[in-house]
Symmetry: C2
Subunit: 493 residues, 2 copies
C-alpha cells in the first residue's frame, strides 16, 4: 500500500502495463483491431437510434462465411445434430447416410458421447479418415494417421508448431520467414513467442506471386541478426488471394531444403480456387513428387481447417495439421505438449470427419451435398470476379485477380494531403490506410481492414476486403466504396 499525493491510500496493482509480459504488448491482430472495435460501437449507436448516413454495418473485415449469409451444408449439420442428441437416430426424418456417419463417430467417442475427452491428438478413427482424404487429394501418396494432429481451428496448430520451433537468444534466436502481406496470426504469434520475424515480400506486380530471389534476399539479411529456421507459406494466399503454381512450390521446397528451413504450409483455402488455369497443389504432394532427395528430408507441417472452403464453419474451431519428416523424439514432445490442453473440441472433430468423409454417389445425401457445395463455390467464384472487376474500374484503386481464398487486397493510391492529415492526427495506429478505412466505416458502415495490419511495402497502401457478402449486397458495397473513394480523392487532392 502506498500513500498518494492527496493523502488517501491506494494499492498498486500487481498486473499493470509495466509488469505485464512485454511480448504481449507487441502482439497486434488487425483483423479484430481498432477498426472492428469501432464497428461494434457504431452498431450499438445505431441500435440506440443515433442517426448515421447508413442503416447497418457491413463486416467485410473477416472471413466469416455464415455471418455473411452462407448456408451450412445440410448433411454436416444433420450429422452434428444426431451426434449431439443421439435420440434422433430413431427419427425417420434423417437420411440413413447421416445416421451411419453419426453412429460411427459416436462409437469412436468415449462413452458414445461428444461430451467425452478425445485423445489429445484427436480421435483415431477421424485421423484415419483424414489420412485417406489426404491420400485421395494427393493422388495416392501415403499419409500416416499418426502424423495427423487435430486442433482448435488451424490457428491452434500453427501456434503449437511455432512454439516448438522457437529457441535461442540474441544472434541464435529463431527467425521465421513470413510473407508480406501476411495473415497477422503469424506476426502476432512470433511477437508473443519473442521470435524474430523475417519478412519476405510478395510481388504485387505479378499477381502477388512468390519470388525465390526475394526469399533469398530476406534470408541473407536475416542471417546477420538471428537464426532462420522456418518458412511459412499461405497458399491460396491470405490476404492476397493468389494461388501458387506448382513450379513456384517446387522452388520453395528446393530453397527450404538448401537453406535448412522447416516448412509450414497454411492450406486452409485449398478448395477456394476460382481463376481459370489455377489449381491447388499441396506442398505434401509436390514434395513427394520431387523424389527421395526431398521427400525423405524436408520437414513439413501443413494445416487445414473446417472454417473456410465451401463449409465455412468457423465457429466449430475444427482443424488439423499433418507433419512430415518430423524428428520422432520431437513428435513425442509435440504429443506431450498438446496433451496439456486435453483435446480439441470434439464437435469440431466430428465436423472434420464428415468434411473428409462426405456423402458418396450411392448414398441418399449425395445429390444435395454436391449441389450445395458446387453452388457455394460457384457463387464465391462469381463474387471473386465481380469484386476485382468493379474495384479495378475505380481510378486510384488497383487490384490483382482474386485467384483463390476469400479476399481482395487492392492497392489504393492516397493523395499526399490525405497521408499528411493521417499523420497529423498523430495516433500511433493512424496509418494513412487506417485513416482511409476509418473514414469509410464512419461514412458508409463498411468495415474493412487496413493493409498496414497485414504488412505492405513502405509507401504503398491497401485494404483487405472479403468477397463474402451476398451478391446483391456485395454489389452495393463495391458501389459505395467506389463512390467513397472518388469523394475521398476529390477531398484530398
Amino acid at each position: 500500500f502506498r500513500t498518494s499525493s492527496n493523502g488517501c491510500e491506494y494499492r498498486e496493482r500487481v498486473l499493470t502495463m509495466d509488469t505485464m509480459n512485454p511480448n504481449v504488448k507487441r502482439v497486434e491482430y488487425a483483423v479484430r483491431g481498432p477498426i472492428v472495435q469501432r464497428a461494434v460501437q457504431i452498431e450499438r449507436e445505431l441500435k440506440m437510434g443515433i442517426k448515421k448516413p447508413f442503416t447497418e454495418v457491413i463486416r467485410a473485415n473477416i472471413g466469416d462465411c455464415h455471418a455473411m449469409g452462407q448456408k451450412p451444408i445440410t448433411f454436416f449439420r444433420q450429422v452434428l445434430a444426431l451426434c449431439s442428441y443421439p435420440d434422433l437416430l430413431e427419427d425417420g426424418k434423417f437420411p440413413e447416410d447421416a445416421k451411419s456417419r453419426a453412429r460411427r463417430i459416436l462409437q469412436a467417442c468415449g462413452g458414445g458421447s461428444l461430451g467425452a475427452y478425445s485423445t489429445s491428438q484427436g480421435i483415431e478413427m477421424i485421423r484415419q479418415d483424414i489420412a485417406r482424404y489426404i491420400e485421395r487429394r494427393d493422388g495416392g501418396i501415403t499419409c500416416d494417421p499418426d502424423n495427423i494432429y487435430l486442433s482448435t481451428g488451424a490457428s491452434d496448430a500453427i501456434v503449437t508448431m511455432l512454439k516448438l520451433l522457437v529457441s535461442g537468444e540474441g544472434m541464435s534466436r529463431t527467425g521465421v520467414m513470413i510473407s508480406i502481406p501476411q495473415y497477422p496470426l503469424y506476426s502476432a504469434t512470433l511477437a508473443e513467442l519473442g521470435a524474430v520475424q523475417i519478412s519476405y515480400y510478395l510481388d504485387e506486380d505479378n499477381c502477388w506471386s512468390l519470388d525465390i530471389s526475394e526469399l533469398r534476399r530476406a534470408l541473407q539479411e536475416a542471417k546477420k541478426h538471428c537464426s532462420p529456421r522456418a518458412l511459412c507459406i499461405i497458399n491460396p494466399g491470405n490476404p492476397t488471394g493468389q494461388v501458387q503454381s506448382r513450379q513456384c512450390i517446387e522452388g520453395v521446397i528446393r530453397f527450404a531444403a538448401a537453406e535448412k528451413l522447416f516448412l509450414m504450409a497454411d492450406e486452409v483455402y485449398q478448395d477456394n480456387v476460382y481463376a481459370d488455369g489455377c489449381k491447388f497443389h499441396s506442398f505434401k504432394k509436390v514434395l513427394f513428387e520431387m523424389g527421395l532427395e526431398y521427400s525423405e528430408k524436408v520437414e513439413l507441417a501443413s494445416f487445414h481447417s473446417t472454417s473456410k472452403c465451401y463449409m465455412g464453419e468457423c465457429g466449430f474451431r475444427g482443424g488439423y495439421m499433418e507433419v512430415v519428416n518430423l524428428d520422432p523424439e520431437v513428435k513425442v514432445q509435440l504429443t506431450k505438449l498438446v496433451s496439456v490442453r486435453l483435446c480439441p473440441p470434439v464437435p469440431g472433430q466430428a465436423l472434420l470427419d464428415v468434411v473428409v468423409n462426405p456423402p458418396q454417389p450411392d448414398e441418399p445425401s449425395y445429390d444435395t451435398f454436391i449441389k450445395e457445395r458446387t453452388d457455394t463455390l460457384a457463387t464465391l467464384a462469381e463474387k471473386a470476379n465481380m469484386t476485382q472487376e468493379i474495384l479495378n474500374q475505380v481510378p486510384g484503386i488497383k487490384c490483382n485477380p482474386v485467384q483463390g481464398a476469400m479476399y481482395t487486397f487492392p492497392r489504393i493510391h492516397l493523395p499526399p494531403k490525405a497521408i499528411l492529415e493521417a499523420k497529423l492526427l498523430g495516433l500511433k495506429e493512424q496509418t494513412p490506410d487506417m485513416f482511409y478505412c476509418m473514414k469509410l466505416l464512419e461514412e458508409t458502415g463498411i468495415c474493412l481492414v487496413p493493409g498496414s495490419g497485414f504488412g505492405q511495402r513502405d509507401g504503398t497502401y491497401h485494404f483487405r476486403m472479403t468477397i463474402l457478402p451476398p451478391k446483391e449486397k456485395l454489389k452495393i458495397v463495391l458501389a459505395k466504396i467506389k463512390e467513397f473513394h472518388q469523394h475521398f480523392m476529390a477531398q484530398y487532392s
Copy 2:
C-alpha cells in the same frame, strides 16, 4: 548436408531435441503421461487377442465423466441439436423451452449460425447470462458481463492469464504459487512460459487443508530467487478433493492483499461438493463480503467450465473466466491477446449458455432437468463416500474424505524393497508410485495416475483415482486395488 560414417549423405533435421524450444522439454502432464500411453497400448493388445489377466482397461486416470458412463443432461443436448440443425425447430417433438433457448442463442450468432465466429471475448448475450448466473450464485454481488471471457475449457483461460503475468529475468522472473499436490496444467504451463513455480504444500493430515503459515513459508523462500506475483488455488481441490472453508478463503485473500499477489481461483468443481458441512464459497463472493479494503483492490481471476459438475461435458471445451479489479489497460491487452485465436468454440459457448440458464420451474423441461442433475450429483456423492470407505479398509492405504471434486488422492505406504526396485529400474520417470501404478495397470487393467505427477511431500507416495466409474464397476475397481495392494505388500515386504 553432411556425410555420415557409411559414406551416404544425410541431412540433419531443423527441429530436433537440441534445437527445440527448451521450455517444451520441461513440460510434464501426468494425467496423459506414460501410464496412459501404456494403457492405450494394452487396449490395442487386448483387441489383437493378446491374453491378459483382465478383459478391459478401466480408465480412472482422468475426470472424463461421459466416457465413464455418465449421461448428458437431456435439455442441454436438445438445445445443442436444435442449434446445430435449426430445421428441427419445426419439429413438434422438442419441448418449447429447448426451442426458445436455441432460438435465442442462434439470434446472438452471426448469420444465425453456430458456424460463425463470435466476438473473441465470447457472445455478448451469453456473457450477460453468465453474469446473472454468477450474481445468483454469489447472493446478488454485481457481475459485469464485460469482465467475463469465454474460453476453450477452463485450461485455455488459465494459460492466458498466466501468459499475461509472466515477465522478467533472473531474480525478477515471475514466480507463481501453486499447491502441492496440484493439477499439472499449472506446472506444465509455468514450465512452458519459463516462470518460477513456487510450491506450497497442502496439509494431508488435515484433510488437505490450506495453511496460511505454509503459504508464508513458501513465499519467503521464493523471494530469495524470483519475484512472486500470483497465487493459484483450486477449490474444490484437484487431485485432493478438499473443499475450502470460508475462513480459509478469507485468510488466502488477506494474504494475497498483504503480499501483493494476483489471485487465480480455479473453481471448475463448484457444484461437486458432497461432504456434510461443506459448502462451496466462491472467491469472488468472499472477496466482496470482506469490504472495500479488499473488494476494490485484490485482483482476481476465477475460472469455470462445462467439463465438470453435473454436466461433465468435457468434449465441448466450454469455459469462462471472470476478472475482478483487472487494470483497464491490461484488460485491453487481454482482449487483444484472445482475439488472435479468433473465438472459443461456439457449440461450447452455446452449452455454457444453457448451463447458466437452465429450465425454470414453469418450463416443461424443468422436472426432468432437476431429476437428472440431482441423480448425477447424488450418485457422485455416493461414489465419493464408497471410495474413501473401501480404500481406508486396506492396510497401507489411507485417504482423506472426498469432500468434493471427482478424485481421491490416497497415500500409499510402499515397502523399502519396492522403492528400491523402482529405483533399480533406473528410468527417469520410474518413481516408486509410478512403479506401483504401472504394475497395477499390467495386472488389473486399472489406469491411475501416480502421485508424483501432481507433486507430493518427499518420501510420500500417492495415486489419483477418479470416482467416476459406474457404481458397480467402481466397487470392482476398489476390490481389485485392495487385492493388488495386499499382494504388492506381501511381495515386497
